[in-house]
């Protein structure tokens, strides 16, 4: 029995590897490595943008990060964000998308999203656009559809202000909208949640920065029937990437 299980595991692994390898082969075009190195090497970037604890009664832990893997034009992105308390997971959102550079500052993305909270989970199909808007706003807008016919729009934007070369204020705002109520996920139609944050980080080095900040989060409309809150919290956290 165990053997079979192992065998299945192994074949699944091989299968995944093969698929990944095929995707990457398709993604990479014409590598040249004679002068100045390969112009377009296969690279990864893992960013944990937020790993923080809120100063509320539950001491909510929040994370938000991404991992990308690929070439200049074609990449795979994995996004993850969520909240947990001592009692366990409160909510989380994960996305796996294929991302293609379509304009100098913009990527178009397509893939799957997976929401999970303590009681339920739901899978969405999504398309998104991500990039750098004029005035240096790091922006992403994702349109999602799930099996219930619910359509969601999730938008976020972030702006960085340099006080010094290392002391940087990140201002961010996020808003989620849906077309239908979903009791299991605790989301209501219309504007569902908004969040805004200010995070002041000190880059000890580019890759590592502790920060303090302030967030405000509020639910709106029908969402308040499931989960009504309007909170402002101080927070501390670290940002790191590699």
């Amino acid at each position: 029995m165990r053997k079979i299980k192992n065998y299945c595991k192994k074949s699944l692994n091989d299968f995944c590897k093969k698929i990944l390898l095929n995707i990457l082969t398709v993604m990479s075009v014409n590598q040249s490595a004679y002068a100045g190195g390969a112009d377009n090497p296969l690279l990864s970037l893992v960013v944990m943008d937020r790993l923080e604890v809120l100063n509320n009664d539950e001491k909510t832990r929040v994370w938000e990060g991404s991992a990308r893997f690929g070439y200049d034009i074609n990449k795979l992105y994995f996004y993850t964000a969520g909240e947990a308390t001592a009692d366990g997971l409160e909510s989380s959102q994960h996305e796996l998308v294929y991302s293609r550079a379509i304009a100098p500052f913009w990527d178009a993305q397509i893939g799957l999203a997976y929401d999970k909270n303590a009681d339920a989970s739901k899978t969405w199909v999504e398309i998104a656009i991500a990039g750098l808007a004029p005035y240096y706003f790091e922006t992403r807008a994702a349109l999602l559809v799930n099996g219930d016919g619910n359509v969601g729009l999730r938008v976020d934007a972030e702006y960085e202000t340099l006080f010094t070369q290392k002391l940087i204020l990140s201002s961010s705002v996020e808003a989620d909208f849906y077309t239908k109520d979903d009791a299991t996920l605790g989301i209501g139609s219309g504007l569902s949640t908004m969040e805004a944050g200010l995070r002041l980080r000190y880059e000890i080095k580019r890759e590592f920065a502790p920060y303090v900040g302030l967030t405000w989060a509020k639910t709106f409309g029908n969402t308040r029937n499931y989960n009504a809150f309007n909170e402002t919290n101080f927070l501390v956290g670290v940002r790191f990437w590699f």
């Binding site: 002068a35 190195g37 377009n40 090497p41 690279l43 970037l45 034009i73 004029p134």
Partner: protein, 579 residues
């Protein structure tokens, strides 16, 4: 704003401490008395790994004959020379003789002129030397140039040179990092401003508000913000990771060039950096520029000169006092410097002068037409978003209109405007008399290309048969570089016709200086007088500007043509086929 100098003050402990390069001048024959200098007709060079300590940390360099810089090679014009290059690296390697006119099979560019030198193999280069002056050599494989595979070439002339000097020194400038080049490249792709620690802050804006008022300060920022461009984006890689070297010495161990009061000293400046432009001066001394890229120019006296990556200049100085002078080479973005002493005694060292302020790019560097703007009230600058920018400034009469007026049949080349390009210079101008960002109006006489005139007449040179226009393009945000919006991997070779005289015009659609290097043939630079075209092998194309040169296509084969900034090279590159 707070400025940091990242110069690492740690003594060089390895073999480099002895790598002074000096060529004693004697009346007829130069006698080579330095262990680092190799001369003759047959040379043996070995590329290998060498442990070094340049910054205080141990690192592994790739070197030629175990030293940084590699040995200075002294050749004689007219000789046929043989160079046996052995590669002891684990990877393929190569040596390219930069600026040397030779058969393409000897040019040393893997994938274009030969297969490279495999690990453990020896390749023998053999060619006749048809020129004289100051040149250099470097690996053309991967990032090996960054980690130490470079050295100077001095070619002694057949005929007496038209200037006198008593001492002759090679001043080879370079940049070193303890980080692996692949790591540097990865970081630039992950975060293109990773090494830039002179970015705009709230303080910069407050200062501007104080100086110009809020609305003007805001409107001046408008264009940069809309285009997502950074006016502090001068160099991709800075003193944050680089230690700048002069003949392999860092600023604290100092290269020393000895002189006796009143002697004329020839300094052969070579920029062998991977990425760093240097602004060179010797406070207290005028420098007389006598050659550019190995070729004689009409002597011009300057206080300072900018040497782009891969360029060479020969200058003559005459110290009148018995004191140590600083040979000061600050990096273009002012994050560090290379320095040595021109001194009457080995124990007397110069103190470095203060570095200049951190430069800021202007609208001129974006290829804006200041004249047109004052007329129409809007700009000649377009970004991917499409925009116009008002300006009140006007510009004096356009000095180089004559060069714009030159019309030759243009061969159209493929062009793409897409992900590869974030900017387009709408009104690029010839800016030959522009010393460039950071050197304008600094109170010193700074060499510009307009000052360079061939020592010998070029009146009889053939007029161009046709012209091609090459746009230098890039996406700084994603760290991708290309020509005409097409990176090398996706581009067809450029076809040059054997026997033709070709005019090449560059338009720089980026905010960075690009030193463009054509292999195998001279680039006869138009600097304002067609009878005095300057023979160069590497030409700086300033941000947002335009520049033209002529090429006599007299070398059959396939050649490399590229930006010499090492981390731009793989994309901003073309193969040239001459047939």
């Amino acid at each position: 704003m707070q400025r940091r100098t990242f110069v690492k003050g740690v003594a060089v402990t390895s073999i480099m401490a002895l790598s002074q390069t000096k060529i004693e001048a004697r009346t007829m024959q130069r006698v080579i008395d330095n262990r680092d200098t190799l001369s003759g007709k047959e040379f043996f060079l070995t590329i290998d790994y060498t442990p070094v300590n340049i910054t205080g940390n141990n690192a592994i360099a790739t070197t030629v004959n175990g030293q940084i810089s590699g040995p200075t090679l002294v050749w004689q014009e007219g000789d046929t020379i043989t160079l046996h290059v052995t590669n002891k690296l684990k990877k393929s390697s190569s040596i390219h003789w930069h600026g040397i006119i030779l058969p393409y099979q000897m040019d040393g560019v893997p994938g274009i002129t030969f297969d490279g030198i495999a690990s453990g193999e020896t390749f023998t280069y053999r060619f006749k030397v048809r020129q004289h002056g100051t040149y250099w050599y470097h690996s053309h494989s991967g990032f090996q140039e960054q980690t130490g595979v470079y050295g100077a070439i001095v070619i002694k002339p057949k005929r007496k040179e038209p200037f006198r000097f008593d001492k002759d020194y090679v001043i080879q400038l370079s940049d070193w990092s303890d980080e692996k080049p692949t790591t540097i490249y990865k970081k630039l792709k992950q975060m293109s401003d990773y090494y830039n620690f002179s970015q705009r802050t709230i303080g910069t804006f407050i200062d501007e508000v104080k100086n110009k008022g809020l609305s003007k300060a805001f409107s001046d920022r408008k264009m940069w913000n809309e285009m997502r461009m950074n006016d502090g984006d001068i160099s991709d890689i800075t003193g944050y990771t680089y230690t700048h070297l002069m003949n392999g010495q860092n600023p604290s161990t100092q290269f020393k060039a000895l002189f006796k009061k009143g002697q004329k000293i020839r300094l052969r400046l070579v920029n062998s950096a991977a990425m760093t432009f240097f602004d060179v001066r010797i406070p207290g001394l005028k420098m007389t520029v006598v050659a550019a890229d190995g070729n004689h120019v009409k002597p011009v006296r300057v206080d300072e000169l900018r040497i782009g990556v891969a360029e060479t200049y020969d200058v003559i100085v005459q110290p009148k006092k018995n004191k140590a002078y600083a040979i000061f080479a600050q990096s273009i973005e002012r994050s560090g410097y290379a320095m040595g002493s021109l001194t009457p005694s080995g124990t007397l060292l110069a103190t470095p002068p203060k570095m200049d302020p951190i430069p800021k790019l202007t609208m001129v560097d974006m290829g804006m037409d200041m004249g047109a703007m004052s007329k129409k009230g809007d700009a000649g600058m377009k970004c991917s978003g499409g925009m116009a920018m008002p300006s009140k400034k006007s510009m004096k009469k356009y000095k180089w209109a004559k060069m714009d007026a030159q019309k030759y049949p243009i061969t159209k080349l493929p062009m793409a405007r897409g992900v590869q390009t974030t900017m387009m210079a709408m009104s690029p101008k010839y800016r030959l008399d522009d010393p460039g960002v950071g050197l304008r109006h600094n109170g010193r006489k700074v060499l510009t290309y307009a000052d360079l005139k061939n020592r010998y007449s070029t009146r009889k040179d053939k007029k161009p048969d046709r012209e091609i226009v090459l746009h230098l393009t890039g996406n700084m945000e994603r760290y991708m570089w290309s020509i005409n919006g097409i990176k090398y991997a996706d581009a067809k070779p450029l076809q040059f016709h054997y026997g033709e005289r070709l005019r090449i015009t560059f338009i720089n659609d980026t905010m960075m200086n690009h030193p463009m290097h054509l292999h195998g043939m001279w680039s006869d630079l138009e600097t304002g007088d067609d009878n005095r075209l300057v023979k160069k092998h590497t030409v700086i194309v300033q941000p947002g500007s335009k520049i033209s040169y002529r090429v006599t296509v007299d070398a059959k084969g396939s050649w490399a043509y590229h930006c010499h900034l090492l981390y731009h090279m793989s994309g901003m590159f073309r193969k040239v086929v001459v047939s």
